[in-house]
């Protein structure tokens, strides 16, 4: 591919659409991970929860005509999504139960959940469909895309607001951005959000003022299961229309990285997910030129690490500057 064509495809409205598609399955689980992490219970089972929800959504929506004969056809994807979300929340609750009641290590519990999800989904897929690779022979439903009316005739705006085919973004992409705003308001503008942050920051102090830290942590982990489940459902019922063994391909772990890259703040995590999405989209487009694929595959992690370094350098400079000001002010 010539450089000209590649650049054209990068500096286009369709590129933004790609970034949003790629970033959605990172933003959703990152929001979940953020809630539990701020509550002091890091949830490394995001990957497993995504996988389990992705699987449940496809199976329930695919078998809905048999299982719920009375239900109208439009309800199939929503039944699938509901089941997926319930499974995600149940897994979050299970982690909380193991960690808070049975005092297991939170990291080991998360790891076990990931292994469980990766094995159980394949096992159950075989039980339901007789197939261990993917559900491509099962006609499963897709969550709808939302099309913004009237803008498709406007050249750039149409692609920007409705994607390159003008069919609109998947409803989960809208939900991802909405969730960022909701979680920001929850964390910084509501008492419950302050309780959550206090629980994570200093549990003893939180408990001393009457916050039930056990309950807060239960809620945080169940909520993180909810958000991660949405990410998984997007993968198998929006982005694609199949479930495939281990199809999350590490996105749950990238979401964890995104939380810390975003300085454990919802807006920061959103920006970090978009940086990662941009780098991935850049990689797929640059990859059409005759450059070694290993180099192209390096782009997303390299950009992420570079962004981390720049962020830390700036943060340190800010802290040093503040310290200097403090010394100058307090100097006799």
């Amino acid at each position: 591919m010539s450089l000209e064509v590649v650049l054209q495809s990068i500096f286009s409205a369709a590129f933004i659409a790609t970034v949003i598609r790629v970033a959605t399955p990172l933003i959703l689980p990152a929001m979940g991970g953020l809630l539990s992490d701020l509550g002091g219970v890091i949830n490394i089972a995001l990957e497993g929860i995504m996988l389990a929800a992705a699987f449940t959504g496809v199976i329930v929506s695919g078998f809905a005509p048999q299982w719920f004969p009375g239900a109208p056809a439009w309800s199939y994807p929503w039944l699938g999504a509901l089941a997926g979300v319930l499974v995600g929340m149940a897994m979050g609750w299970l982690i909380a139960f193991f960690h808070l009641e049975l005092k297991t290590d939170i990291i080991l519990t998360g790891l076990a959940m990931n292994i469980l999800a990766s094995g159980a989904t394949v096992f159950l897929m075989f039980s339901f469909t007789g197939d261990k690779g993917s559900t491509s022979t099962l006609a499963s439903a897709r969550l709808p895309s939302l099309q913004i009316p009237f803008v498709n005739n406007v050249p750039v705006l149409g692609t920007l607001l409705n994607g390159e085919n003008g069919t609109g973004y998947n409803i989960m992409s809208y939900l991802a951005f909405a969730l960022v705003a909701v979680i920001w308001i929850f964390l910084y503008r509501t008492p419950a959000g302050a309780h959550l942050r206090a629980t994570g920051e200093m549990p003893d102090a939180a408990q001393s003022v009457g916050i039930d830290i056990r309950r807060v942590r239960y809620q945080a982990l169940v909520a993180s299961g909810f958000c991660a489940a949405l990410g998984g459902l997007y993968l198998s019922m929006g982005y694609l229309s199949i479930f495939q063994a281990n199809m999350t391909a590490g996105r749950g772990f990238i979401a964890l990285a995104v939380i810390f890259l975003g300085n454990r703040n919802p807006i920061g995590a959103l920006i970090a997910a978009l940086i990662f999405g941009t780098a991935s989209a850049l990689g797929t487009r640059l990859g059409t030129m005759a450059i070694p694929p290993q180099f192209v595959e390096m782009i997303p992690p390299a950009v992420t690490i570079a962004a981390l370094i720049i962020y830390n350098i700036r943060r340190r400079a800010r802290i040093n500057a503040a310290a200097r000001r403090f010394q100058e002010q307090t100097a006799p």
């Binding site: 591919m1 064509v5 590649v6 054209q8 495809s9 286009s12 369709a14 790609t18 598609r21 790629v22 399955p25 193991f98 009641e101 049975l102 005092k103 297991t104 080991l108 519990t109 076990a112 292994i115 469980l116 999800a117 990766s118 094995g119 159980a120 394949v122 096992f123 075989f126 197939d131 261990k132 690779g133 993917s134 491509s136 022979t137 099962l138 006609a139 499963s140 390159e164 085919n165 993968l235 982005y239 694609l240 229309s241 199949i242 495939q244 063994a245 281990n246 199809m247 391909a249 991935s280 989209a281 797929t284 487009r285 990859g287 059409t288 005759a290 694929p293 290993q294 595959e297």
Partner: protein, 372 residues
């Protein structure tokens, strides 16, 4: 407190064990035991016993499923007793599972596939000189150190000339991309998505690109790798990137990742070429709109090759101790000329593909290879 911790830990271990057992068991698939009428099951004679060892799981809709079809056909037609062992997706367990299978199963022929198993089989085969082994899609190194005890004289390796079949796919794609068909743009650009940059996949691409250039010297062929076989979302983005840069046909050579290519083709109203099995027919019942976007598939007929191997074994003419490369002539590879292909392909393009096939068969065209 301490008791709680112990209970919790035990529970976690149990869950992990269950999960591991679900993920990578050596689950024997039911085979057809009843020896039906066939050459192998003459009166009083032991039926042929075959073990198919899959280093992965069945259900990939392409490669291993094709091999399993071959084994099934052998069971049906020759009355062989067959058993399939799936070793799971964790490569660290494969060698141990292979050794177990060889030690514990009663078999005359063990069928193993892929280049990942070469080393293990080279170590194993000389320990069982009176048993036979098939290795598909890779050769053992007959002159190598591991094979030294018996020069792997009991191993028959099957290679596929995927470069020949891909050449036809390239000819076809290059001819189709400039046709006046819904979804095709006038630009002479076609694409390909590989799973990883490994010799077998490069062999597909070399043939594909040569076929395309022989048909249209000005054509541009995009070559991209997903870096894995189980990430359909990545496959979809790669295909969409290629479509956005003017490609209208993308050849997927990426296993499960390639299912994303079909999704992209259906969504963008472009086309794809499948791989290994006739993929349009496999997904048409669940996804008719995707199946209609798969122009053809470059089939690697693992099933035929296994059937042929067992047949020659029974006739006593199978060249054990050597590697055979099966191309178009031997039915090892070929294009899927299914109803979608027939419906969409103009007659002059069909003629062009048939012509190219004839030239490969009579040696007029020699297709390059990525192997040496």
């Amino acid at each position: 407190m301490r008791r709680h911790w112990t209970i919790g830990f035990t529970l976690m271990m149990v869950i992990a064990l269950i999960a591991a057992a679900c993920a990578a068991p050596t689950a024997p698939a039911p085979a057809a035991p009843a020896p039906a009428a066939g050459e192998g099951a003459a009166a009083g004679e032991q039926p042929l016993r075959i073990v198919h060892f899959v280093n992965g799981v069945l259900g990939d809709k392409s490669f291993f499923d094709s091999a399993q079809r071959g084994v099934q056909r052998v069971a049906d037609e020759f009355g062989a007793q067959t058993k399939t062992i799936e070793a799971g997706i964790d490569p660290t367990g494969w060698e141990a599972a292979l050794i177990d299978a060889a030690a514990n199963e009663e078999f005359d022929i063990m069928i193993v596939g892929t280049f990942q198993m070469v080393e293990y089989l080279e170590r194993l085969a000389p320990q069982y000189p009176d048993k036979k082994f098939f290795l598909y899609d890779a050769p053992v190194n007959y002159e190598g150190e591991a094979c030294a005890p018996n020069k792997c004289a009991n191993v028959y390796s099957i290679l596929y000339k995927q470069n020949e079949g891909s050449y036809l796919a390239g000819v076809y794609a290059a001819a189709m991309t400039t046709q006046d068909i819904e979804g095709m743009n006038p630009e002479a650009i076609i694409g390909s998505v590989g799973g990883q940059e490994i010799p077998v996949i490069l062999d597909f691409m070399v043939g594909y690109e040569q076929g395309a250039r022989d048909t249209n010297p000005d054509i541009q062929v995009i070559r991209q790798f997903a870096g894995g076989w189980n990430d359909p979302a990545k496959g979809k983005e790669l295909a969409k990137a290629q479509y956005s840069q003017g490609a209208d046909i993308v050849f997927q050579i990426a296993g499960g990742t390639g299912q994303g290519v079909f999704e992209a083709a259906a969504e963008d109203g472009r086309y794809a070429i499948g791989v290994d099995s006739d993929q349009a027919l496999i997904i048409e019942s669940a996804n008719p709109e995707q199946a209609a976007r798969i122009l053809t598939s470059m089939m690697k007929n693992v099933d035929n090759s296994i059937y042929r191997g067992v047949k020659l074994h029974l006739e006593g003419t199978l060249p054990y101790g050597t590697a055979e490369a099966l191309g178009i002539a031997e039915g090892g590879v070929g294009l899927a000329r299914n109803k979608y292909y027939e419906a969409i392909t103009p007659d002059e393009v069909k003629a062009l593909v048939d012509e190219a096939e004839r030239k490969i068969l009579n040696g007029e065209i020699v297709v390059d290879t990525a192997f040496r």
